[in-house]
């Protein structure tokens, strides 16, 4: 396992909710990342944002790790949940709230 995939694995295993994104939760630098930030903030979920723009190695590494070609990417309890489209769809259907509940993550009911 490469150093970068070890770093990623450590992030997703040591934090319940991790969002790999462009920019930071306070200052997203991409509209798709920004949409997921808004949803997580709305639900009041505690999460860690990892800014993949800080390193080309990380930017490529996360795509290889998840076998998913685009950013953002949301991980919950070590499991890849999806990118912007999937998170938004789940949120709109009320499934994201249920999913967090099943995973034991505190989230406000929408």
């Amino acid at each position: 396992m490469t150093a970068i995939s070890q770093f990623i694995e450590n992030e997703v295993k040591s934090n319940d909710v991790v969002l790999f994104m462009k920019g930071t939760p306070g200052f997203p630098q991409c509209g798709f990342s920004g949409q997921v930030v808004q949803i997580l903030d709305y639900l009041g979920v505690d999460y860690k944002g990892v800014n993949i723009l800080t390193s080309d190695e990380l930017r490529q590494g996360i795509k290889d790790y998840s076998q998913w070609p685009t950013i953002p990417q949301l991980y919950v309890k070590g499991e890849f949940v999806g990118g912007c489209d999937i998170i938004r769809e789940m949120f709109q259907a009320g499934e994201l709230q249920t999913f967090f509940g099943e995973k034991g993550i505190a989230a406000r009911a929408a």
């Binding site: 991409c30 509209g31 798709f32 076998q67 998913w68 070609p69 685009t70 890849f80 949940v81 999806g82 990118g83 912007c84 489209d85 999937i86 769809e89 789940m90």
Partner: protein, 94 residues
């Protein structure tokens, strides 16, 4: 062949879609990076209804489309790909 035409042709062949809309949204992202002037083929939205999605999870559907368009993402440098997949009979908003 434009990138848009390649996307349409690959998805049509592989998914035999009931409905397909490939929308170039690059103009909506003009200026957010120096190389995006809005006239290019950098940002796409794919809306597709196909029986191939029957019984597949959201992630599996997205993976299928991502894999079909691997070359467009990696070689043609499509920067963003929004995907709205549905199986026949499922609700769509378009």
């Amino acid at each position: 062949m434009s990138i848009q035409e390649k996307i349409e042709s690959k998805l049509t062949q592989a998914l035999q879609p009931e409905r397909l809309a490939v929308i170039n949204e690059s103009h909506l992202h003009a200026g957010h990076q120096p190389s995006f002037n809005g006239s290019g083929e950098t940002h796409f939205r794919v809306r597709v209804v196909s029986a191939k999605f029957d019984g597949l999870s959201r992630i599996e559907r997205h993976r299928m489309v991502n894999e079909l368009l691997e070359n467009e993402l990696a070689v043609d440098k499509v920067h963003a790909l929004a995907i709205e997949p549905a199986a026949p009979g499922e609700a769509t908003r378009w």
